[in-house]
């Protein structure tokens, strides 16, 4: 089942690359926030693949804990980013 693990890891790396490309190239702030979240999903997928220890064995809990913490951080950071975007947008409408 090693190939499944590698498949997951490679997919994770590709998602990271896609997210990174989007974060660097998109002009719109909203698209960039989404792209950074996509990149985060890729990193989390990589970590989940890392946790696999072979058939019948329980997965390594440490990467799972990292993913959970990472999701909490990503959600809070996205919330702050969206709040700032809304603030900017509201001021644009005032002008």
């Amino acid at each position: 089942m090693l190939t499944t693990q590698i498949l997951y890891a490679l997919t994770g790396c590709m998602i990271v690359a896609l997210g990174l490309r989007g974060a660097l190239l998109h002009a719109s702030v909203l698209q960039r926030i989404v792209a950074i979240n996509v990149m985060g999903a890729g990193v989390f997928m990589l970590l989940i693949a890392v946790a696999y220890r072979g058939p019948g064995l329980p997965p390594d809990p440490v990467p799972h804990a990292l993913v959970l913490t990472g999701i909490v951080v990503a959600v809070s950071a996205t919330a702050l980013a969206l709040a700032l975007v809304r603030r900017l947008h509201a001021e644009q409408e005032d002008d």
Binding site: A9, M39, L46, V50, V62, T69, L84, E91
Partner: protein, 478 residues
């Protein structure tokens, strides 16, 4: 001494919650918390000086499952600088914010930022470092946007996105390391990491992410607007401490965890980027029309000097010469922290008392605010690197290392950068000394002017004259 380590994280965290719950007495609570945290930092520094590096496992859970804290000479010195700079900026902030609602929003975020800085400097494993980097980034962004003005919000948003991108790259590197070595503990990794494609990729990802956060040229584009549009006490801490935290991590990774992986060519690349930062940042500081923008571009330049040390440290064989160079690096980082914080606070005083920070219209500032002008001059002494400032000692070691390893380019860059720094500092002072009547007392607004003066004096006078014990302390680290 482990109590001091816990106190450094628990005290500001408790203070942040207390200021959130008691907005009316927030200022008193925050200053009290700041004093207690500074005492804890002092205790830790003296503990590290007498007992050597300290290690503590929270709740008795060993590394791998639990959270390990560690402190050596380098982190103890940076924690002490953090405490002194943040305390001085807190005193200043207590006079800076006028309305109760401003204060109620400022203090919890401020103390959270301080908590994140302390936790980052004490963390001994990579995942904690990722979490503390994010905590630091989030509180710094919120503080930078505090004024609510359009320019500040736009700069804070860009700061946040750049920071998130940097953190994600760092986390991707962390997961590669965990996949390869099965541990996140820095000390364990430093014995295990071996050169190879996975280690190189991890190093490249983590370094790029951190360079974004520490704003090394050409990844510095977000720093000048964010630092220049934040409230003065926030700018001081962002420039003096927050960018240094990411730099501290680069230093740890390159000289400790990845010591066997980094190559002279990679270190030369960091040195070249540093040289670009020195020249580009200094030139733009000279062109700046506003004081805050000048100070922000000067931060870009001063961070560049720190990266000039990497090729030297890699070329020098371990021994007294390398220890001196490493000490010079830390001395330069500490001096810049105090000097830049002092400069930003002094600019804040001018901005509030004169209603602007346009360099051309500073005429008469020396007569109106003599102590603040003196603080700018003292901070300038440290930024240029004149004796007896700590930066003089740091740059001296930089030049000595460059001569010893025959890397002449860094010598030229340092000389040109210092001349440009002299030019932008004297440009400000030249405008500040116009002809106006002198007041009776040099310090006109004590609570606002003393913090800047003390920080700048620390950078220009105290650090340079007390260098020997610091070098001794650093023998334990790096």
């Amino acid at each position: 001494m482990t109590d001091a380590m816990i106190g450094l994280i628990a005290l500001p965290l408790a203070g942040a919650l207390a200021t959130l719950l008691l907005p009316r007495s927030a200022t008193a609570v925050a200053i009290g918390t700041g004093l207690a945290t500074t005492v804890a930092a002092g205790l830790l520094l003296s503990g590290v000086a007498t007992q050597g590096a300290l290690h503590y496992e929270i709740g008795g859970w060993s590394a791998g499952l639990g959270i390990a804290l560690r402190a050596d000479g380098l982190s103890a010195l940076l924690l002490m600088m953090t405490a002194l700079v943040a305390l001085a900026a807190s005193v200043y902030a207590s006079a800076y914010f006028n309305t109760a609602s401003e204060r109620a929003r400022f203090w919890p975020l401020w103390l959270l930022l301080w908590t994140a800085l302390n936790a980052l400097l004490l963390s001994g494993d990579l995942f904690n470092l990722y979490v503390t980097l994010e905590l630091l980034g989030l509180s710094a962004v919120a503080l930078a946007s505090l004024s609510g003005r359009r320019a500040a919000v736009a700069a804070a948003l860009r700061y946040l996105l750049v920071g998130l991108l940097g953190s994600m790259m760092f986390l991707a590197g962390v997961s590669l390391l965990y996949a390869g070595y099965g541990t996140l503990d820095l000390a364990a990794l430093s014995h295990m990491v071996a050169p190879g494609p996975s280690a190189w990729t991890a190093l490249a990802l983590m370094t790029t992410g951190l360079l974004l956060k520490t704003a090394l040229f050409p990844l510095h584009f977000w720093l000048p607007p964010a630092h220049a549009s934040a409230p003065a006490p926030v700018s001081a801490v962002l420039s003096a401490l927050v960018v240094k935290a990411a730099f501290y991590l680069v230093l740890r990774l390159w000289l400790d965890v990845f010591a066997t992986v980094v190559t002279p060519a990679a270190a030369n690349l960091l040195g070249l980027l540093g040289a670009g930062a020195v020249l580009w940042g200094s030139w733009h500081a000279l062109q700046a029309e506003r004081l805050k923008l000048l100070a922000a571009y000067s931060t870009v330049a001063q961070l560049g000097y720190l990266f000039l040390f990497f090729p030297l440290l890699l070329a020098l064989p371990s021994g007294p010469a390398r220890d001196l160079a490493a000490g010079g690096l830390v001395m330069l980082a500490l001096t810049h922290g105090f000097a830049k914080a002092g400069l930003f606070l002094a600019i804040g005083v001018i901005q509030q008392r004169c209603g602007h920070d346009t360099i051309r219209q500073l005429d008469g500032t020396a007569q109106r605010l003599p102590a603040t002008t003196f603080a700018i001059a003292l901070a300038g002494v440290a930024l240029i690197g004149l004796p007896p400032s700590g930066a003089f000692l740091g740059k001296w070691q930089l030049l000595a290392g460059a001569v010893e390893t025959g890397q002449w380019l860094w010598l030229v860059v340092t000389a040109v950068g210092s001349l440009l720094a002299a030019a932008y500092i004297f440009k400000v002072l030249g405008h500040a000394f116009g002809h106006r009547p002198y007041p009776n007392q040099p310090v006109t607004v004590a609570r606002e002017e003393w913090p800047a003066l003390l920080l700048a004096g620390m950078a220009a006078l105290v650090l340079g004259l007390s260098g020997a014990p610091m070098w001794k302390l650093l023998e334990l680290g790096i």
